[in-house]
């Protein structure tokens, strides 16, 4: 068990290293020269050369990568070209905002998805099951651009009951903050609902058809007790893994939602960095997203093993 976690962390670190190389070289292959991008097309070549020297962008790529990654590991994420201030604090603040939004989406979607899936499974083949499945599948495939736009129109403009900007006035209470986050959280919730619902449904259907469920029924357990004690415990296990792997999709959705609803999270930060060619910010932001994803899947794997005593991991596939 301990070895399994250790091996998972080791593999995760290797993956992160590859990711850091990919991210770094992807943003250095760029056609634009960072110094030129900052100073604009009219700046004198000597000024551009001086700034390149100051930024370190005149050195060989390998050396630049080494400087970047060794600083990154010690928590120094570089200086943002655009804000002219350290990337670290900006990123941390934005990540906090994003986590607040993501947490709200999770709090909404996890219970809804699980209840939806279990209800569908208990009514397999009936109209309710069909309605839930069709809704779940549709919600999952529709881009956040679409759901977000429709939500803005319906709740923000026509009914005028919810704010269409997620940015709350400074010094707002948690209640006001959440009020501003409801609308942006819904597109994320819709995307995730289908996955969780399908997973919970499949797990519950399988558990309901199992031998132990039949035994429990035959020995005279009331249906409610049988479902609670025997079915749900087994069926919700795979759902945990799915929920964790969805963090990746969730972060992808954050970029869009944060831009659409004007919210200062990590998605919007990366979007701005990419638009303004703010490479230190872009590289750090993307790598942080990779780290968040790896940590989330690691936690899911560990949770799964801890909760499922039947599994003894010998190797990692």
């Amino acid at each position: 068990m301990f070895l399994f976690i250790l091996k998972r962390i080791g593999l995760g670190l290797i993956t992160l290293w590859i990711l850091s190389v990919l991210v770094f070289f992807a943003s250095q292959v760029l056609p634009g020269d960072p110094a030129r991008a900052i100073l604009g097309p009219l700046a004198a070549p000597s000024a551009v050369a001086a700034l390149s020297k100051q930024l370190g962008t005149d050195k060989p790529l390998i050396q630049q990568y080494w400087t970047w990654i060794t600083h990154f590991v010690t928590g120094d994420l570089g200086i943002s070209y655009q804000y002219q201030s350290p990337v670290g604090p900006l990123l941390t603040k934005a990540l906090g905002h994003s986590l607040e939004l993501a947490a709200l989406a999770f709090v909404l979607v996890v219970p809804l998805g699980i209840v939806g899936g279990v209800v569908a499974a208990l009514n397999v083949g009936k109209p309710l099951d069909r309605v839930l499945s069709v809704f779940g599948l549709t919600a999952t495939v529709i881009p956040e651009v679409v759901s977000g736009t429709v939500l803005i129109l319906v709740f923000g403009i026509w009914l005028n009951v919810l704010p269409i900007s997620a940015t709350w006035p400074p010094g707002s209470s948690l209640g006001t903050q959440l009020y501003h986050l409801i609308l942006p959280a819904i597109p994320l919730t819709l995307i995730l609902f289908g996955y969780i619902e399908q997973m919970a449904r499949a797990g519950t259907v399988e558990a309901l058809n199992s031998d132990y469920a039949r035994t429990a029924t035959l020995k005279g357990l009331p249906r409610g007790v049988m479902i609670r004690r025997h079915v749900l415990r087994n069926s919700l296990l795979p759902t945990i893994t799915v929920i964790a792997t969805q963090t990746g999709y969730l972060i992808g959705g954050l970029v869009l939602v944060e831009v659409l609803f004007n919210y200062q999270g990590i998605g919007r930060l990366i979007y701005n960095a990419a638009t303004d060619k703010d490479f230190p910010m872009l590289e750090a932001g993307v790598l942080v997203i990779g780290i968040v994803y790896m940590v989330a899947t690691l936690i899911a794997d560990v949770l799964y093993t801890l909760l499922n005593p039947r599994i003894r991991y010998r190797g990692v596939e």
Partner: protein, 295 residues
């Protein structure tokens, strides 16, 4: 679907006869499904719109500054935008770039992903481990973020979009193909081919590949839906399809700031168009999966 017991020399003949029967069975299962018919009608409509749209509607680029932000009416069924352009025309014509870029990108991803998956699954060992790490690294990033990074690195154009989405899909499809190859490689027909002295390349592409076409086809249609999703999202963010040709993502981005003034028609019809295409593609993908399971 093992054909392991068949004498080696007759596999080819039997294979094609069997394949013909299975194909017919698959098509019958597929066309029997209402979801497939619905999906085919929706996607078919947008394909027609992409090809012939310009012939039917008004000029999507023609500005009329004396008729800006007009609500839907007889003259402009979907209203006009902030430059007085006909929204209906722009929605119909907007189908074209998506329907060119999405299938091409998915095709690239499928071709390379299949080749990579075959190599990974067939050789396993070091190749599999090394490539597997790269796949993992790619998967740690959301599609949209990788897309943004790729477009920033290569510059924005429709060709970039095709390449970037193709590259991102490659490891995803490789993973599915690899899993399918792992099942096939231990079957008797592969061992038979090896004993005949066939080259690895021949075994991978001529023996194993025909037997894993079903999961690859499912993967292609599912990915096609994701491709549309990603293209629209990236276009909305300004990293995707480029103006002046109208496209649904940029249309929503340009006009969303106008909805506060009540000009809902400038974004709603584009949103509906996106939703219908994505749902249509996914209906087809689901139907293919069901039909393959049934046949």
């Amino acid at each position: 679907m093992s054909i392991g017991a068949v004498p080696v020399e007759s596999t080819a003949a039997l294979n094609s006869a069997q394949a013909e029967v299975r194909r017919r069975e698959f098509l019958r299962e597929l066309t029997r499904q209402k979801a497939f018919i619905a999906g085919a009608i929706i996607v078919g409509f947008w394909i027609l719109a992409a090809i012939f749209g310009t012939l039917v509607v008004q000029d999507p680029l023609a500005q009329n500054l004396s008729a800006i932000n007009q609500a839907p009416s007889g003259a402009h069924l979907f209203g006009t935008d902030q430059l007085g352009r006909d929204v209906l025309a722009r929605v119909i014509v907007g189908a074209r770039p998506v329907l060119i870029v999405a299938p091409l990108a998915t095709l690239i991803g499928t071709v390379f992903g299949t080749a990579l998956g075959l190599v990974m699954g067939y050789y396993r060992g070091v190749v599999d481990d090394v490539v597997g790490r790269f796949v993992e690294a790619f998967l740690a990033l959301p599609l949209v973020v990788t897309g943004i990074l790729g477009v920033v690195a290569l510059g924005s154009s429709n060709a970039t979009l095709i390449i970037v989405i193709g590259i991102v899909f490659t490891p995803l499809i490789a993973r599915t193909v690899r899993a399918a190859v792992l099942v096939e490689r231990d079957l008797d027909y592969v061992a038979a081919a090896r004993l005949r002295g066939e080259s690895s390349l021949y075994i991978m592409f001529a023996e194993i590949l025909p037997n894993i076409l079903a999961p690859i086809m499912v993967e292609f249609t599912v990915r096609l839906g994701y491709a549309v999703f990603t293209i629209i999202t990236l276009s909305f963010l300004g990293f995707g399809l480029q103006p002046p040709t109208p496209n649904w993502g940029s249309e929503i981005f340009t006009n969303i700031s106008e909805v506060g003034a009540g000009y809902w028609w400038e974004v709603l019809f584009d949103a509906i168009a996106v939703a219908s295409l994505v749902v249509g593609v996914n209906l087809i993908a689901n139907s293919i999966e069901t039909a393959l399971d049934a046949s």
